[in-house]
Every structure is written in structure tokens, then in C-alpha cells.
């Protein structure tokens, strides 16, 4: 049983933390958000130079690791610093999915470009009001005489605006799921581009009779592959939320200790003190769950319900912390001018993506009931 980072991980973490501290403070972040590109090429190069674009991949594909704890480490810092660069969509989601594809030259080629920083990818997966359950994917992929025909709509494709390649999930006529690579400039690909509340660029993408070459299909029978992507997303988003929670707690303790009303710091009011205590409780719960889940994954013992549980705790506890942080900050917390509201918005976006807390909690409850008698696994030491 070990829930700590390795020495190498700590070094990477410290380096990344320093980088973001220097080049990604709140004002710099806001400048990037409001820039026309909505992201910073310079920061991306710094990420590349530090090895961050290689970090979450196994050595077999030229990466530096790619363990669950690597994702946790990276994403916690992204969340803490409100990083809007397309690291999640391009590296963690698209990149890691490509890295798991076996023997598809196109996939490996794109992966190399993503890791080099010479291209960006985006995952086109969610549909409707949110596709937590992969069995509900409705986008259709139909094999034709000379290739494939793609029809459907994908929502909230983060980084979709800028992507050089789209990783698309779809359903084949026989009901099996498929993963494919789509050039976003193809005829029939319609993009509605927008910024998100948490300062990212995204797109809703409509595929209307998009004709694809046969090798666009990088994996059929992709249920497990797509579930793996969803699991990566749940882990990374949860870690981001936990990072955001750390920042919110720190900011609130700091603010409550210095902001004076009635002649004393507001932290001396028991209502505020207890609110801070509850925030700390929530943070400790969420972060413990994060590390615990990462350890389960690395021991090969994580089940879908473990990811769901983590995502639910991160979303639920994260929102509680963020709303408390805004309340403690008072009027200033309701403005665009301090970071707490932006962390709140990031957590709300995380909550909306890949299934909200309620969805995941019900899944946890249902699976815990069916597993109760048969589940010595829960007694974690009984390995």
C-alpha cells in the first residue's frame, strides 16, 4: 500500500509547478483566455520542452510513464492553475487513446505529432446533454463499398476548433462501437465554435454523410477502448477538480484571514471558520479518494464504479468548496476579477462532462448493492 509519488514524479511536479507559477499566474491566464487564439503557443512549447507532452504515455510509444499517478500529478496542477491549453483533449484523451491502439500506422503517426507538439487532437465523443454511458452513443458509422460514412452530432468537443485531427466515437450497424480519425476539414463536417464558461475553445460538431477512407477506422469493437478513454477522462477531470479545490481552499483561507469586517478578520467569525473547516474536509476526502483510486488503477484492481465514485466525489465536493469560496469572498467572489469564480466555473464544466455526480452516484450505489456479498475486493488488503 503506497499512495505517494515517486521521486521522479515529485521532480516533474515541482518543475511544472514552477513553470506555471512563473508563466501561468491568474493575470497571465486571463490574458491567454482573452487572446484571439485562446491558448498560448509559447506555453505549449514550454510544456513540450519540459517533457509534459510525453509524460502521460508509456515508454513503448516513446513516452515517459503514463501511469495513473502521472495523470493525477499533471491534472492536479492543470486544475490548480486553471490551465486552458488543450492538454486534456489533445494529450490526455486523444493521445492516450491513440497510444492504446495496436498496429495502426495512422494512429501512431498522429500520436507522434501530438507528442512533438506539431499537431493538436480533439476527442469528439459526448452527445446530447452528456454521454456518461457509452452504450448510448448514437453517432453512426456505416461501411460502404469504398470506405465509411459518418453521421451524427458531437457536443463540447474541447479543442475541436483548433484540432488537426478528431478522434471520433461512433456505432457500427451491428451495434459495436468504433473509434476513428477524422480530418475536420472534410466535406460534411460542420463546426459550431464557441468559448466555454471556463475559458476553453470548443465546438459542437455535426457529421453529415462524411465520407471517410477505410483506414479512418482505427479500431472496431472499440467498447473497451472507449471505456478506457472515459476512464482516463474521469480520472483526469477529477484530478483537475481536486487541484482546483486546493486553489480554492488556499485562496479562501488567505482571504478570510486578511479581509476585515467589524474590525476583525472574517475568519474569526465561527460561521466562516466552520465553512473553511467544511471546505478542508471536502478537500481531504476528495484528494484521498483521488490517490486511492490511482493506487487501485496501478494495482490493476479498479472497476468502473471506482472511477464513477471518484468523479462523483470530485464534482460534488468540488462544487461545495467552490460555492463556499465564492460566498466567503463576498461580492468580489462574484466577479470575473478574482480566480475563485473561474475555479467554480471549471468545476461546473467538469461536473457536466462525462456524467454528472448524480449519474455516477447511482451507478456506485447500484453496483455496491450487487457486489456487497461477493466483494472481498473492498477490503483492500485482502489482495
Amino acid at each position: 500500500m503506497d499512495f505517494t509519488f515517486t521521486e521522479e514524479q515529485v521532480m516533474l511536479r515541482d518543475a511544472m509547478s514552477r513553470l506555471l507559477g512563473q508563466h501561468y499566474d491568474f493575470d497571465q491566464r486571463q490574458q491567454i483566455v482573452h487572446s484571439s487564439a485562446g491558448r498560448s503557443e509559447r506555453v505549449w512549447r514550454q510544456f513540450r520542452d519540459m517533457g509534459l507532452l510525453h509524460a502521460p504515455f508509456p515508454e513503448a510509444v516513446g513516452g515517459f510513464g503514463g501511469k495513473a499517478s502521472d495523470l493525477v500529478l499533471l491534472a492536479e496542477l492543470l486544475g490548480e492553475h486553471l490551465v486552458v491549453e488543450p492538454y486534456l483533449p489533445s494529450i490526455l484523451l486523444t493521445g492516450r487513446a491513440l497510444a492504446r491502439v495496436d498496429g495502426h500506422a495512422g494512429a501512431l503517426g498522429w500520436l507522434e505529432r501530438l507528442m512533438e507538439g506539431s499537431a493538436l487532437g480533439a476527442l469528439a465523443h459526448e452527445e446530447g446533454h452528456g454521454t456518461a454511458d457509452i452504450t448510448r452513443i448514437a453517432t453512426e458509422l456505416i461501411p460502404t463499398d469504398d470506405g465509411l460514412l459518418l453521421n451524427g452530432e458531437k457536443r463540447l468537443v474541447l479543442g475541436g476548433t483548433d484540432a488537426d485531427v478528431l478522434l471520433v466515437t461512433a456505432r457500427l450497424p451491428d451495434g459495436a462501437l468504433a473509434m476513428l480519425l477524422v480530418d475536420p476539414t472534410l466535406r460534411g463536417v460542420g463546426m459550431e465554435c464557441y468559448s466555454t464558461i471556463d475559458g476553453r475553445r470548443a465546438a459542437n460538431i455535426r457529421f453529415e454523410n462524411v465520407r471517410l477512407a477505410p483506414d479512418a477506422l482505427i479500431q472496431s469493437n472499440a467498447d473497451k477502448a472507449i471505456q478506457d478513454i472515459v476512464h482516463d477522462a474521469l480520472l483526469a477531470l477529477s484530478a483537475e477538480a481536486v487541484g482546483a479545490m486546493a486553489a480554492l481552499l488556499t485562496a479562501s483561507v488567505q482571504y478570510a484571514g486578511t479581509r476585515k469586517q467589524f474590525g476583525v478578520p472574517i475568519s474569526s467569525f465561527q460561521a466562516i471558520a466552520h465553512r473553511l473547516a467544511d471546505m478542508k474536509l471536502a478537500y481531504v476526502k476528495a484528494r484521498s479518494t483521488l490517490f486511492y483510486t490511482a493506487a487501485l488503477i496501478e494495482s490493476g484492481r479498479a472497476e468502473p464504479r471506482d472511477y464513477s465514485l471518484l468523479k462523483a466525489q470530485a464534482g460534488r465536493l468540488g462544487r461545495a468548496i467552490a460555492e463556499s469560496a465564492v460566498q466567503i469572498h463576498g461580492g468580489v467572489g462574484t466577479t470575473d476579477e478574482v480566480s475563485v469564480g473561474h475555479h467554480l466555473k471549471r468545476i461546473l464544466a467538469i461536473e457536466a462532462m462525462f456524467g454528472p455526480s448524480e449519474y455516477h452516484l447511482r451507478l456506485v450505489g447500484a453496483s455496491s448493492v450487487s457486489a456487497a456479498s461477493a466483494a472481498p475486493r473492498r477490503e483492500a488488503m485482502e489482495a
Partner: protein, 401 residues
């Protein structure tokens, strides 16, 4: 006990409905649908104010002598219901509900003559200058000073959370005129008949929803006439307390909350559940919705107690009870709307939200307004006395009893 109403009231409801169906312009209707705050889009709501004024209905709660409607509380409630049912923009509260009643109560005859007509007609918009960066919950520690100089005061300092100050042509405010007594003494209440006095600078503040609703106002040797003073010099605290009474009660809030709920209940019939099917049929969602519906009905019931002068409503804790209940419900409804909108709440759509922008929203009007409403509602537990302060006040009434 009963909830029956007279035929007259039913006829009144029809009359109100017919007018509200016919009178608003398209822009006003659009502004109503895009209202995600207590404060509706400025230009259109003021236009609507003037239309209602022409009909004689701009100030249902005012006494007839000052241009009010003379309606009973039931009539006012019906008016609010019908108004909300049509998603019309609610008239801005600062003049009609806050400074107007205050001027009636404590203003000089000259002030009444000069200011009430403009409030009634919608010609004027008054921003409120109370809070300062270091005087929020602790309002009594305000520092923005007014020094007496002949017939004028010279103001120096800063106000914040002056709602829509960038649109306002008038301002009511608290200033410090003495530092000698205890903090509450030494405060004076002023009416400013202009927002463009030399030395006044308004800085809009962008909110979490990306919209400008709040402002800062800076005063650098701003000279204003003493004739704008309400009450005696250094007695502004008691004047402001009188106004808080108006701010914290008076109007029916539940019709707005009910309307929000109705929109949610309509949306869930087609909004997909993450468990498949639509949310309306999702048992978990039904239960969660049921809980908020129950809280809403409880609040509606409580508001009816207040309305009918039931003893429950005359409890000294009423203003705080009312403020806490209504704001917590607002926040719950905001969170629920965001939950229903799901991914569709994530795009930032400031432009589409702008009235007459001609930009189609991503999703529908429900999706468009979900996140701004939720985010704006975060402020409801902060402004007009934080809910922490309200709980302090409420607890005090318990021990006095």
C-alpha cells in the same frame, strides 16, 4: 381556512393578462426571456416601465396619491403571477421598491415633488451607493466622506456594488459626515440628482456570467447640493435601516421562482437523462425535483402567510426568513437548471444573451439562460445582508422572544 378567490379577482386576472399579452414589444419580450438576474436588461426594462406607467401600472405597491394602483395585496400578487407567466422583464427595484418608498416616508416635500414622478414613470434609474470595498457586511464602517461646505457636500471616496451605475442617471448613497461618534452615527443619506458630477467616475465590473451588472463609483471632490439629504445630517443610519425594510420584504418573490420552476418542469420532458429516456421519467431526478418543488411550495405558502397578515408572517424574524428562503431557493433553482441543461450549459454565450443581438443561442433559451442564472444567483446570498448576517439577525429574534 381556504384559498378561494372572488369572481372580481378572476376578472382582474383576465384584465391583467389581456394587457400583458398585448402591450410589450418584441424587444421587451426578448429581454424578459433573457433575464437571468433580479436586474433585467436595462434598455428594454425601462421601456417596459414606461409602457406600464402609461397604463398606470408601474407601481402596484405605491399609494394612489403618488401614482400607485390602489390594488389589494391579492391583486398585486395576481399581477406578479401574470407578469412572470409571460416571462416579462421585472421592473428594476431600486426606484420603485427602495428609494421611492423611502422618499415618500422620509423625504421633504420638495424631494417628493422632484423625484417621485421620475421613479414612477421610468424616466429615472437610481443606483444604490452603500457598500464600499471595506464596508460590505459591516456597512457601518463606511468611509466615503462628505464634507459640508456651504450649501453643498464635497464627496471623496468610493462605492462598490452600485448596480447598473453605468446606466443610472441618479444615485442614493450613504456618506460619512462625522468620525466622532460611534460608527453608525456620523453617516448621512444623500440623493444625487446626477451621475455626471465632475469628479465622479463609474467603472463597470464584469461578473462571473460575463455580464456587467455591478459597478464601482469613485468620488474625487464631488460637490453635490445639500438639498439631496434625506433626514438629518449624521442620521443616515436610521434612514438606511428604514430602506432596508423595503429592500428585504414587500414584493412577492415566489411568482418569479414558480416561473423558473415551471420552465424547468417543461424542459425536463425533453431533456435526456444520463440514464436514458428523459429526465422527467428519471426516478432520481423526480425525487430531487420533488424536494425543490416542496421547498418552493413551502415558500409560496409562507409568502401567502405574509400576504394575508397571518401571525406566522408577522414574526420579527420575517425579513431574514424571507431573504434566506427566497435566495436559497433561487440558488437551488439555478443549480437545477444547470443540471437539466447538462453539457448545453457549458458554452459561454454572452453575445447570444444580449437583447437584439440577432445571434441564435446554442441550444434553446432554457440552455442559454441556465448558467448565467446560476452564476448570477451566487450573489443572492451575499447582497442585501449576507445570509450569514441574516441568520445572526434571525437568531437574535429568537432569544428576544
Amino acid at each position: 381556512m381556504h384559498i378561494d378567490f372572488s369572481d372580481e379577482l378572476q376578472a382582474f386576472r383576465r384584465e391583467v393578462g389581456e394587457f400583458l399579452d398585448a402591450a410589450p414589444t418584441a424587444a421587451i419580450r426578448e429581454a424578459g426571456k433573457k433575464t437571468t438576474s433580479v436586474f433585467a436588461p436595462f434598455k428594454e426594462v425601462m421601456e417596459w416601465h414606461r409602457i406600464l406607467h402609461a397604463k398606470g401600472w408601474s407601481a402596484p405597491a405605491w399609494p394612489v396619491e403618488h401614482g400607485g394602483t390602489g390594488w389589494s395585496v391579492e391583486q398585486r400578487y395576481i399581477f406578479a403571477e401574470e407578469h412572470w407567466k409571460r416571462d416579462l422583464p421585472p421592473l428594476l427595484p431600486n426606484g420603485l421598491q427602495m428609494v421611492g418608498p423611502l422618499i415618500m416616508e422620509l423625504g421633504t416635500e420638495e424631494q417628493k415633488r422632484r423625484y417621485l414622478p421620475g421613479i414612477l414613470s421610468g424616466e429615472d434609474y437610481w443606483t444604490q451607493g452603500y457598500s464600499e470595498p471595506n464596508a460590505g457586511s459591516d456597512l457601518a464602517s463606511l468611509a466615503c466622506s462628505a464634507v459640508s461646505d456651504g450649501d453643498d457636500y464635497v464627496i471623496n471616496g468610493q462605492k462598490i456594488w452600485t448596480t447598473l451605475a453605468h446606466e443610472a442617471n441618479r444615485m442614493f448613497m450613504l456618506v460619512r459626515t462625522s468620525r466622532e461618534a460611534r460608527k453608525q452615527a456620523g453617516i448621512t443619506f444623500l440623493l444625487l440628482d446626477r451621475m455626471d458630477y465632475p469628479g465622479m467616475v463609474v467603472r463597470p465590473i464584469v461578473g462571473l456570467d460575463g455580464l456587467v451588472e455591478q459597478c464601482e463609483v469613485f468620488f474625487d471632490n464631488v460637490r453635490v447640493p445639500k438639498s439631496g439629504r434625506v433626514g438629518a445630517e449624521n442620521d443616515g443610519w436610521s434612514v438606511a435601516k428604514q430602506l432596508l425594510k423595503h429592500e428585504r420584504g414587500g414584493t412577492a418573490l415566489s411568482p418569479m421562482l414558480r416561473r423558473k420552476m415551471t420552465l424547468i418542469q417543461q424542459a425536463v420532458r425533453s431533456a435526456p437523462s444520463p440514464n436514458g429516456g428523459v429526465l422527467a421519467d428519471d426516478p432520481v431526478f423526480q425525487r430531487d425535483l420533488g424536494e425543490i418543488e416542496a421547498e418552493l411550495v413551502s415558500y409560496e405558502a409562507y409568502e401567502r402567510m405574509i400576504l394575508t397578515n397571518h401571525p406566522i408572517g408577522s414574526d420579527p424574524g420575517m425579513p431574514s426568513l424571507n431573504k434566506i428562503m427566497s435566495t436559497e431557493l433561487t440558488q437551488q433553482l439555478g443549480a437545477l437548471q444547470v443540471r437539466v441543461a447538462g453539457l448545453w450549459a457549458v458554452p459561454s454565450q454572452v453575445n447570444a444573451l444580449t437583447v437584439a443581438s440577432g445571434i441564435d443561442p446554442i441550444g434553446d433559451m432554457f440552455d442559454l439562460t441556465a448558467m448565467p442564472f446560476y452564476l448570477n444567483a451566487r450573489a443572492t446570498s451575499i447582497y442585501a445582508g449576507t445570509n450569514e448576517i441574516q441568520r445572526d439577525l434571525l437568531a437574535r429574534t429568537l432569544h428576544a422572544a
